[in-house]
Symmetry: C2
Subunit: 548 residues, 2 copies
């Protein structure tokens, strides 16, 4: 037992989880916590707008296992609901700490600035988009409340909201030792049955494949999936949302599977396999390429955070975290006696996208990046055609909001990525629409000494909408001089209208240590190979759904 200030205990737990900076914008209801944090020695990366800082903290969380956002009441916390919803949908362990008026105001009518209906309005809103949420309003239960919210975030890999009234922030409480983690074995009868069934099925298969999903990243299961793939020499495709959940530089990696919109060679190989081991894949609309993926139940072993199903058999007591390490262990040990069970891994080259005209195209951007991409680079994507373009780039670290699909994610997320891993310089693909939402956060990158290379896909429109509907006046965007804006924010900036200009800008960018913006001027009719396949596949059906 020891006495500590609530702020002290909170920041200790955050630091112990591996966090070395938080994200926020100061406001009067949270100033005492900012001051306490400074005394504690943890830095807040102050950003310019809450919708961006949520994305930055989310991206940081995905790499570090925890991200933290510090926001004020009302105009702060309520301005970050969309990125928190994104983090929930994308299974990102994001802790939001919200300041609030003093506890004495609880139960009184809203009469203070930043108040809406009641003291609890903000907490009630957060309840809809978080896995845990609580207000610290009692010294006796303060530690339990902090532990509950933080542990839920860490275990579920979903956002949690912790509200601190201003008078609670530096109040002293008794601290009890944390309970030891529960070591109880998960090796139940059900787990054993599932394991045996899956092992049998893999061993009976002629050509199995692992379909690696995003939950492998979220639950930090890279090591067992790599060992598994190596022991059997099974090829690995990543799912749309799982891109880079398995390293693309690994010899067993064959490509990204996105149903009918995949690179055709990847699709053909995946769909010809007779056993698909889906690890950490949840079969959402985006993940299955609008349900165009061919993952028939009799071929599929599906293992994710919600369920394990093998053919017709469902195992509700087992999940990815308990299953995968045991499965890998079983396979690795079994395989020693049966070397014959090594499988075939095809060599599928990266899709050729360069259309070799002088006019700049999305295809050329993809191809140019694939030529220079290296270990010290990673790819961060916004939403729109840039997301589909990003799928064609070979990289070991790819960060996007593929499932929730929220515009404005790219530039702020690149800040979280680079702060979480200083060895990775982000190449950011962002549409002009997404850049107009949050691209100004580039100034925060400059302020923090980061050096993303931001490529604005400038086609002067919400191009995706045009392609799923038709050309309409209200899909046009206002004109921005992106290069001038990049410069005004402190980034070195270029405009590229031709392939040559783009190659030259990218080359110079890679030689520079500065934050870079490249205004990539595209024809409004030019799209990525993936989006082309998507619009061809759905064709009129999508148009009809979009406007009828």
């Amino acid at each position: 037992m020891a006495r500590k200030q609530i702020s002290q205990y909170l920041f200790e737990r955050i630091k112990n989880a591996g966090v070395d900076c938080t994200f926020g914008i100061p406001g009067d209801y949270i100033l005492p916590l900012y001051a306490a944090q400074q005394d504690f020695g943890l830095k807040t990366v102050v950003m310019t707008h809450e919708p961006s800082l949520g994305f930055a903290a989310d991206a940081y969380a995905r790499l570090k296992g925890l991200g933290v956002a510090l926001v004020t009441y009302g105009s702060g916390g309520l301005n970050m609901i969309n990125p928190v919803a994104c983090a929930f949908a994308e299974e990102s362990p994001l802790l939001i700490i919200g300041g609030a008026p003093e506890t004495k105001y609880k139960g009184q009518p809203a009469r203070l600035h930043h108040c809406v209906k009641t003291f609890d309005t903000q907490k009630n809103v957060y309840a809809q988009v978080t896995a845990a949420n609580a207000t610290i309003d009692d010294l006796d239960t303060a530690q339990k409340t902090i532990d509950y919210v933080l542990d839920t975030v860490l275990t579920a890999s979903r956002p949690g909201y912790l509200e601190l009234p201003r008078d609670m922030m530096n109040a002293e409480i008794e601290i009890n030792d944390l309970p030891k983690p529960n070591d109880a074995s998960h090796n139940s009868a059900q787990t054993k049955r599932a394991l045996n069934l899956a092992i049998e099925q893999i061993q009976a298969a002629k050509q199995p494949i692992i379909l690696a999903g995003v939950e492998l990243s979220r639950f930090r299961l890279l090591e067992p999936v790599c060992r598994l793939s190596e022991a059997l020499n099974i090829p690995v495709a990543t799912s749309m949302l799982g891109k880079s959940a398995f390293p693309e530089s690994h010899p067993n990696f064959i490509g990204n599977y996105f149903g009918q919109f995949s690179n055709p060679s990847v699709r053909e190989f995946v769909e010809d396999c007779d056993c698909i081991l889906g690890l950490g894949v949840i079969l959402t609309e985006m993940e299955t390429g609008g349900y165009s993926a061919k993952l028939p139940a009799d071929k599929l072993i599906l293992v994710n955070s919600e369920e394990v199903s093998i053919g017709e058999n469902k195992f509700t007591d087992v999940d990815l975290k308990t299953f995968l390490p045991e499965f890998t262990h079983g396979i690795v040990n079994g395989v020693r006696e049966a070397k014959g069970h090594k499988f075939y891994v095809p060599n599928i080259p990266v899709e050729e996208t360069n259309n070799a005209k002088n006019e700049l195209s999305v295809g050329h951007i993809i191809s140019a990046i694939n030529q220079v991409i290296a270990d010290n680079l990673c790819v961060v994507c916004d939403v729109g055609d840039c997301l589909y373009a990003g799928l064609s780039i070979k990289t070991d670290l790819y960060v996007a909001s593929g499932y929730y699909s929220t515009m404005g994610f790219g530039v702020p997320a690149s800040i979280g990525v680079q702060l979480a891993d200083r060895t990775k310089r982000p190449i950011v693909l962002v549409g002009d629409g997404g850049f107009q939402m949050t691209g100004m956060e580039l100034s925060t990158a400059v302020k923090e000494g980061l050096n993303p290379i931001v490529i604005v896909f400038n086609n002067a429109s919400y191009a995706m909408l045009k392609f799923i509907d038709k050309d309409r006046k209200y899909y046009g965007l206002p004109t921005w001089d992106y290069a001038a804006i990049g410069k005004a924010l402190g980034a070195t900036s270029y405009q590229a209208r031709t392939c040559l200009e783009f190659d030259s800008a990218l080359k110079t960018a890679l030689l520079s240590n500065q934050a870079i913006l490249i205004d990539a001027v595209l024809s409004p009719e030019d799209i990525s190979p993936t989006l082309k396949r998507l619009t061809e596949h759905f064709g009129k059906k999508m148009r009809a759904a979009a406007v009828s």
Copy 2:
């Protein structure tokens, strides 16, 4: 009875309420409604980011009596919670129409893009920040649902949320005639007692004053308050939030009362009055100047949307809308027989703020604007010292988020203001912090042919926070070249470091028809007279509260 598409009925009701454009960003879950709106002939002003479009629609709503925002599901609707919360707190009649997946997805687990927990997540969030919210998921009740949400918005002058699954947007329904408005007299026994008591008290007073609050604007009670003031020749001060709820060009207007932070001459006069008729004033922390206002119960007749209280007497059945017209009627008729009851209106000049040094200051900006302000101009303020500076400018139309106090309000709100009233050109006062949040919306103003004059108070910091706490590294802002940014967005731009440069830029701006940005470079130590009084009054107490 007639059969109509839901979209048709909805847009007819919106148009009949006086709305000539809506605000939005198209997204796939709402595209059919955009297409239907275009066919109907109502324009959507497409903006660049949801947090801004909410402010624009709020400002439009305040002037027109209704504002409408059209947003997509998830990344659209959930990115607008803060402006809707602001509209709730500021009593603005804002209708949000949210697109949603087809009704068949209701009750299923979230598996579509833009989904969070369940189909109802967004609706549940909106329930916390609106006065009415509903999903149209049944053709038989569709009209009732639309009428309920829209009528609540119009009557309560608070936001409402209407969710339309994509398959409902153009579905046909039977339309019944709207019921006639209820003409029942509100002249209850309680109303009569309240009226008599108030009239007696006014007539017994030596020097009464009207304190005009924001609800006079929201409930469109300008006419009775003007008649009342003229009949008795009572002076009128506006409250902090009520600024411009009574025309500042009216001879009976004496100034803005903000407790201890008022212009001292105004404060002295108001506090010396022996009867204060507070109309549409709600005594929040901001409205009372942090509770420094002197409004003792024995002098105060308080009439607002929630209550009527006269000294110790509370009248819960009476409210502003029912009371004021009757009261004015009673006074105007009574006064004809007692001309002696005309009172004294002092002449209090606008406070002198020009500190006459060459270096540009907030005081000089206020003074320069007061010298040129005219009927065709209005003032729109963001939050921070610019809000306090705005209080010192004499104008008949002043729009701000004084109570909810959300940064980022100014530039987008000016778009809503000018679209609602093309005869008014907005002068926008915005801090650098607020501009970094939503200032890029200036490009939407340019696109729509609007011509605000945006003055960026550039002191390179969250100055308010420095003044209520102390100078800290994390209150500094990243460096932006605002004039270059204004230019890159299509606005004519100037940088002003001296009084002369500012005067010249302002003069040129007034002669131009274009959107203008003036980067007003201020010393980080320079603040408005109002904020100076505020920090002097609270002094150490505020600092202690801010960080302890």
